[in-house]
Symmetry: C2
């Protein structure tokens, strides 16, 4: 706050004005220069010169005019959303997903390439190939590259500290990509990135604080506070998979060494395993309609059978929902954040799953807080990390979001 | 970020320069104008004119000179720490505590007046009398008034939303005090204020993220993130007294309506009650050395007996420490904050109490996080809310902290 000099302040004021005008056109366009001046409180001459620069850079264009009662008609301006593009990459799944999107986050092109089995150098090479192919045609228009990476990511240094899944340890990914592409690169943990995606393009656009919980192979969260991601002292914020939610005799040993962690009772594999067990025990289970044998049951079959209202599955899934509710109660007690959004493969279980969380929340959170806390399903579905990666670049490079 | 106009930016640049120079003198003084220019990267003429203004306002003074190898000696400047003063008030105890402090937070004068039994208007009148007496002699020099209030405090509106203890409901305390004293007033929840005190004057000066846990009549926390207090969506952040830490048959019903809340097993009254029970059962308990009868045992007696190493007390207190450890594990999992500081009346139990928390932390937090998490006792003791109230005013009115 106090490290800026007067000169830097003036330069920043100029940049602020440019961003302010661009953001006003982005948020409110089509809009006239006079209305921009009214909205921003900038002088009309300042608005005119900033708009001229933005038109020259191809970010803004004249899209029409509005006739006025008197005088000459007002020229209307809009942002040229698809002139500048952003690359978003999700490294958190079995495949690398990559997209090129416009300034609104709309996907223009999409590529995926297999990642399963690839680790270390080979995974990095695969990433290079994907980005090469993505940007081949649009090189000039690209504002930057954003990536969501599973594991601990040092966003300040741009280094992947540890990603067991990719076998990356202290990999300076930001530098690798910046050297190769000569473009700005932003990397962060995939759950953190997802939270920023939800905040920017999903169910977080109306709030300034939000927690996004991803429930799939494990459970993790991303926390947005005052419109900014909270990373934590060692970039490990939101590691809620290791919250203790089961105590006593029923607590199972977790991979981390402790007992009763949330991840020991809530994850995709455990759910599928329990469903297979139900199918083996009960020849009338609706699960048999969706898979040829108990061993062939996958998450898709579980979700379909759950929707038929099978009681055994209901019991298992409600219990998972309640343990998630315990974690949400802890988050809401500590942070007093009211907007909680659920994403990941288990989010496909739908509103009934959310109801179980809300039930537990009411039973274990201070009633005043429980009444204020609002659990929703993400609307970004499988693209949430990609959207987040795009949002991170948009925020850092343009200030538009 | 984008709501400022160019003019406002210039005005802010001027204010920034003034704060920047003042802070440099505050942090590094005695210091010469040349060294200020080097540190701040401001032009020397700018530094000279800002310093002239600060001397005129009585915030800075010439305190000596340093001879140089060549040329005339450099004049050394320091802040005049006791010229401007700050009022700090703590409304969270059985008495109202009020102090006047200098710019370093050093207490110059202290007043307390009884609060027990006073509620509503009467409590407010008592507060007025205390502040009247505090500022009578120093009216001109006072920068502002800071207050820590038990309950839910809307810091944006300056309204005490609910304080059961004081029977204040939607009381516009900031406006009441500003109207009466014509001075800037800042109010916040007392645990939040305490956390900012620890961050500014205590064991948080070397970190940017910190959680302060106050353990006394109840348990609550204040969270500092990136050097700023996190208040939460409805100003209820840090209400960790209602985290569920006991599940199953042993869970006791809490005043909030739920079962197994942290406050049901960790608080001053419960500890004293359990100590009395120990004394009743065991005629050889060291507790008898510190109180004439079991009914006369108070916290002071408990702490003294605990220090003698009494096993029954050890067991009770270690269990409380472990339940606090559970809460700290949840905080560290969710936020990845490494610095945890304990304050409040139970902090007087000392390092053994902290060891119990650390033991539970190791058993229930991801081992990597547990190793990084550092639990300390506050060094501000009973003055923590007062110091925090002073820090809040210092931060808001001068930017010095």
């Amino acid at each position: 706050m106090f490290s800026i000099t007067e000169k830097a302040t003036q330069k920043r004021a100029k940049l602020h004005n440019k961003r302010l005008v661009l953001k006003t056109i982005y948020d409110q366009g089509p809009i006239s220069r006079a209305d921009i001046a009214r909205t921003t409180h900038l002088a009309r001459t300042t608005v005119s010169s900033v708009v001229a620069r933005l038109i020259e850079e191809g970010l803004v264009a004249v899209v029409g005019q509005r006739s006025l009662d008197r005088g000459k008609p007002a020229v209307l301006l809009s942002t040229v959303d698809n002139v500048r593009r952003i690359v978003g990459v999700d490294l958190g799944g079995r495949e690398i997903q990559g997209v090129i999107a416009d300034l609104r986050g709309a996907v223009i092109r999409r590529i995926q390439s297999p990642l399963a089995g690839l680790e270390g150098e080979a995974a990095l090479e695969q990433l290079y190939h994907l980005i090469d192919a993505l940007i081949a045609k649009d090189r000039e228009s690209i504002l930057g590259i954003g990536l969501g990476v599973p594991g601990v990511v040092d966003v300040r240094q741009g280094v992947v500290r540890q990603s067991g899944r990719l076998d990356w340890w202290d990999l300076p990914l930001k530098k690798c990509l910046e050297d190769r592409y000569n473009l700005p690169v932003h990397i962060a943990n995939d759950s953190h990135v997802a939270a920023f995606g939800e905040y920017t393009f999903g169910n977080g656009q109306d709030v300034s604080n939000l927690v996004l919980i991803t429930v799939g192979m494990g459970v993790s969260a991303g926390i947005v506070l005052d419109g900014r991601l909270h990373f934590g002292d060692s970039f490990g914020a939101g590691e809620i998979g290791h919250l203790t939610v089961v105590r006593g005799e029923n607590a199972i040993r977790c991979a981390c060494g402790n007992k009763g962690c949330l991840e020991t009772v809530v994850n995709e594999q455990t759910l599928v395993e329990q469903a297979r067990e139900i199918a083996r025990r009960n020849p009338h289970s609706p699960l048999h309609h969706f898979a040829p044998s108990p061993e062939a049951i996958d998450l898709d079959a579980v979700i379909k059978a759950f929707r038929t209202g099978d009681e055994d599955l209901q019991r298992v899934i409600m219990l998972m929902g309640r343990r998630l509710g315990d974690a949400i109660a802890a988050i809401a007690s500590i942070l007093n954040i009211q907007r909680i959004v659920i994403s990941g493969s288990l989010a496909d279980l739908g509103p009934t799953f959310v109801e179980a969380m809300q039930t537990e929340l009411t039973a274990s959170l201070h009633p005043m807080l429980a009444a204020q806390t609002n659990i929703q399903l993400s609307r970004l579905e499988r693209d949430i990390v990609l959207k987040g990666a795009i949002a991170v670049v948009l925020s850092a490079e343009t200030g538009l979001v």
